[in-house]
């Protein structure tokens, strides 16, 4: 709503952001800099690493988390200002297969079993990687978890799960729709219903030490240029 409004003085903002937001935020950051003159420096890493760093007093102005759990965690720890927390984007999960095996997949045990053959299902590590956790909840709710539990290939992050499928190392994987959208070597073979898992959200917040006007960048993401950047990265903006 306040898109285009000049930031109040800060020359440079430091933003800690989940690695999966890299494309979207970098594009938005450039746009922001050219409109406001405020340069944004990003530190991309795993959400968990960033969260712990914020707890340890990292000199960030803003934190973009890839899931709500870690945002709650840092808010509780007093590392971000709870009043500033806002969801900037949402995402959904899809089944992907290597590009040459793109026939649609029915979401039932036998179809998945058949498609896997002897292979594995690449997902994010369900305990630690958010994408993995959402996938587990969705499959559990869909009654499919027990069918695949023994055939998982839990990856350190979704990108690697994606790359694994792209290279044909696994016949199937579950990744974010945003990832699938930008990888040419995979095909989306099934969408996972959004109601089968908690909403996949990207909350952002400012730290207590944030420079004045830092929250403006969060607002900027909700404006037209921000939305454009999010959409082109395969994410769904939030109003």
């Amino acid at each position: 709503s306040l898109s285009g409004s000049p930031a109040s003085g800060a020359e440079k903002l430091t933003v800690f952001a989940a690695a999966s937001l890299k494309d979207a935020l970098e594009a938005a950051g450039e746009a922001y800099a050219s409109t406001t003159g405020t340069r944004i420096v990003f530190s991309f890493a795993g959400t968990s690493a960033l969260a712990r760093q914020l707890e340890a007093g990292a000199p960030a102005d803003l934190f973009f988390s890839a899931d709500q759990h870690w945002m709650d965690h840092v808010a509780r720890a007093g590392a971000v200002d709870p009043a500033t927390v806002a969801i900037v984007a949402t995402n959904s999960l899809v089944f992907v297969a290597p590009g040459n095996q793109a026939s649609p997949l029915a979401l039932d045990k036998h179809a998945i079993d058949a498609r896997l053959g002897g292979g594995r299902l690449a997902i994010g590590e369900p305990d630690s990687v958010p994408a993995g956790r959402y996938a587990r909840e969705a499959l559990t709710n869909l009654g499919l978890w027990s069918a695949v539990e023994a055939k998982l290939a839990p990856m350190e992050n979704v990108r690697i799960a994606l790359a694994t499928v792209a290279r044909g190392e696994t016949p199937l994987g579950i990744v974010y729709a945003s990832d699938a959208a930008v990888e040419d070597d995979v095909a989306v073979v099934a969408s996972i219903p959004r109601d089968s898992h908690p909403a996949i959200v990207y909350p952002a917040a400012a730290t207590f030490e944030a420079q004045e006007g830092a929250v403006d960048f969060i607002a900027f993401l909700k404006g037209p240029e921000g939305r454009k950047a999010l959409i082109s990265a395969g994410l769904q903006p939030v109003d």
Partner: protein, 232 residues
């Protein structure tokens, strides 16, 4: 520390299996590479030396990714091995051992090379005057005298293989009982908002195993030193 839970046992025994396999398979290659770098001068010397050090210089995730490309089931080497010998690395504990071995390799080659370079060529000359062919000199003079270095290499290699994480998780995933070593389990725990206790237990466990391995190696090293330096 209370007794280990089954997942911890599993991670522990897997870690030992993976690290030991990595060590046993890699050590001979590392010895060969150390010898070649120490004693031979040839055009590709610098390139070989550089290639050996690469896994150290690149982030482990990249090494893991390269392994995935080469040794995955669709990779040129992986598919060949699978078709010809039925060896699969992908998502298998053998792949974890491969990743650990590759990451440990540069750490092993250096001390071995150092120790071989320190072997007095005059002794090799003496062996030659007694009729020993080059390989025999290597086997009965050079390598035995380089044994302290080989042992140091084994220790570094084993420790690194135990702790390897980045390349392993990238290459063969984090499958409990198959590829989830102590290091991966520990990493997983740190990535979980309330994983502190689990992480702490696994840290202690890793530390204890590492200390045990180190102490054993020190005992062996001291015996070796005594054997070489004289005495009855």
């Amino acid at each position: 520390m209370p007794s280990l839970d089954p997942a911890e046992w599993q991670a522990l025994s897997l870690t030992l299996k993976v690290a030991a396999t990595a060590l046993i398979v890699t050590l001979p290659v590392a010895i060969l590479a150390g010898y070649v770098l120490a004693r031979l001068r040839f055009p590709g010397h610098g390139i070989l030396n550089g290639l050996i050090h690469l896994p150290l210089v690149l982030p482990p995730v990249v090494t893991g990714y390269v392994l995935l490309i080469l040794f995955g089931r669709r990779g040129p080497i992986g598919s060949f091995l699978e078709e010809t010998f039925g060896i699969t690395f992908a998502f298998n504990w053998t792949g974890a051992a491969l990743a650990a071995g590759v990451m440990a390799f540069p750490l092993m080659v250096r001390p071995i090379r150092l120790a071989i370079e320190a072997v007095d060529p005059k002794l090799e000359e003496a062996a030659a005057t007694l009729g020993s062919p080059r390989v025999v000199v290597l086997a009965v003079v050079t390598l035995p005298l380089a044994l302290p270095g080989i042992l140091a290499a084994a220790i570094l290699g084993f420790a690194k293989a135990m702790g390897e994480f980045g390349a392993t998780i990238t290459f063969v995933s984090n499958i409990p009982g198959e590829t989830r070593t102590l290091a991966l389990a520990l990493y997983t725990a740190t990535q979980t908002p309330d994983g502190e206790l689990a992480a702490f237990r696994l840290t202690i466990l890793s530390t204890v195993v590492a200390f045990a391995a180190l102490i054993a190696s020190e005992v062996v090293a001291r015996r070796l030193a005594r054997a070489v330096k004289g005495g009855a």
